[in-house]
Structure formats: structure tokens, C-alpha cells
Amino acid sequence: MLSEFAFVGVLVIFATLLPVAGLAVAWLIRPKKPNPIKQSTYECGIETRGETWVQFRACYYIFALLFVVFDVEAAFLLPWAVAYQQLALYAVIEAIIFVAILAYALIYAWRKGALRWI
């Protein structure tokens, strides 16, 4: 197992090298003529007004929330799915109950209008 992950480790190093090398090469050969207008924040040619970090609506957060919940569900269900073929029916039913509870979470969010954009 370690050796398999060792490959991932090696790949991480090489994968980091690629963009770093690319950026380094570009840094060497690209022109550098900065000026304040070029470096200002791009807003379709209009001067930036107000703070950049305007507050965003919480509905983004709620989507992220649902995502977290279902991600955890996946982490629990995938091992179950691997074991699925060896399992008895009752174990399958347990997992279905698990899914049903989370489906209820989705339905709840749906009915509360949390899935509504704006």
C-alpha cells in the first residue's frame, strides 16, 4: 500500500514542477511593463467602487452544507458498496435506512426553500 501512495507522492512533486517550471520560464522570457492602469482591478473599464468583499448571500453556504452532508454520506456508503455483495439483506436495509434519512434531509431543504436560488 505504501508503495502505491509513494507513486502519488512522486507524482505530486512532478505535478508541482510543471507549473512552477512553466511560470519560471514565462517569468524569464515575458515582457514586464507594468503600469498602474494595467494593474488596477478589472471591472469592465469602470473604476472600482466600494469594497471588493461585498457580502454574499447565505444560500451559497447552504449549498455547501448539503454538499458536506452528502459527501460524508458517500464516505460511509462507499465501503458499504464495496462490501455489498457479501452482505445479507438486513445490512442492505440498514444502508437504505441511512440513505432514506439523508434523502429526508434533502427533502427538508427542498421544502424549506433552501434549494431555491435567490
Partner: protein
């Protein structure tokens, strides 16, 4: 064998630098967004630990849930609660030095205890082959751990319901029922 050990120790050192360095940056960084990014670094270090400890599945789960989901949630909420990203704001409270003292003492006590205790390490044969298949884990989840397994889903449901109730903007409800949902 020696090379393998050396590689492991090297990896351990690197990962420790990531984890603890990232952790320190999390608690000291003035910019909260940076703190959250350092948290990701630290979590990635912990993920590496799991790999070194032969818990590959757990490492992937760590990547999936902690780095992929929880940290996104944290980054989102940092962006949602503006005003704390003012750079230069003091990020630690007045009791920080007492806290540091207490924490340091706790750490010392823990470490001393850990090194004094004789741990009932498993025999070498067992240490060499900790091959737990994911299928075993899955079967355990619906076998002996069935009740916690279901409780987790209920917990997630409750957390979701509570979070939705809390996080939803009040007084922003359209008067008519949502036609799309077919309610």
C-alpha cells in the same frame, strides 16, 4: 529495508513540518483566509500521516471530507462574514499568553506521560501486515457498528436542519409557493 525506513522518516519529518507548521500558522495568522488555507495544509499533513500508518482509505476520506468539503464550507463562511478580513486587525485576545502557558504545560504533561508509558505494542508479525480491506470496513459499518452508523446519518440530518434554520436569511421569503418545486 534501511532505505525504506529512511524514506519513511523523511516523509514523517516533511509531514510533521506541514502539519505542525500549518497548525501554528492557523492559530497565528492574522488573515483568516490564510489561516483557513494553512488549515488545509495541516490537514493534508495529517492525511500523509494516515498513509504512513497504512490507513489508505482513511487518508482518502480525509482528503474528500476535510479538504474537499469542510474547508470549502469554512472558506465560504469566512467570505460570508466580512469585516473580519480587515488586515492588521488584532486576532488574539487578551488572555492569549495565559492560554499559551496552559497549553504548553498540557503539552509537556502529555508528552512526558506518553514517553513514560509502556505501550502494549502488537507483535512484529501483526505489525507487518495490517491489511484491512475496505470491504471489511464496510461490513463492520453495517454490522457491529450499525447503530452508530445510523446515528451518524441522523446527526447529519439534524445538523443540516439546524444549520439551514440558522443560516437562512429571515424575512426574505417570497410570498407565493415556489411553483417549480410543485408543492
Amino acid at each position: 529495508m534501511i532505505i525504506e525506513h529512511a524514506v519513511q522518516i523523511f516523509a514523517f519529518v516533511i509531514l510533521t513540518l506541514m502539519t505542525l507548521g500549518g497548525g501554528l500558522a492557523v492559530v497565528t495568522s492574522r488573515n483568516l483566509f490564510h489561516a483557513a488555507l494553512f488549515l488545509i495544509l495541516s490537514l493534508a499533513g495529517a492525511m500523509g500521516y494516515y498513509v504512513l500508518l497504512d490507513a489508505g482509505f482513511l487518508a482518502v476520506v480525509q482528503l474528500l471530507i476535510y479538504i474537499g468539503a469542510i474547508s470549502i464550507l469554512i472558506l465560504f463562511s469566512i467570505m460570508l462574514t466580512r469585516g473580519l478580513m480587515m488586515p492588521g486587525q488584532v486576532q488574539r485576545n487578551e488572555q492569549w499568553w495565559i492560554a499559551a502557558l496552559v497549553v504548553f504545560l498540557t503539552f509537556v504533561v502529555l508528552v512526558v506521560t506518553m514517553w513514560q508509558t509502556v505501550w502494549p505494542i502488537a507483535d512484529t508479525e501483526a505489525l507487518r501486515a495490517p491489511n484491512i480491506a475496505i470491504a471489511q470496513l464496510g461490513a463492520a459499518l453495517v454490522g457491529p457498528y450499525a447503530i452508530p452508523f445510523e446515528v451518524i446519518s441522523a446527526l447529519l440530518l439534524v445538523a443540516l436542519v439546524g444549520a439551514i434554520v440558522l443560516a437562512r436569511e429571515e424575512g426574505n421569503q417570497p410570498a407565493r409557493a415556489d411553483a417549480e418545486t410543485g408543492e
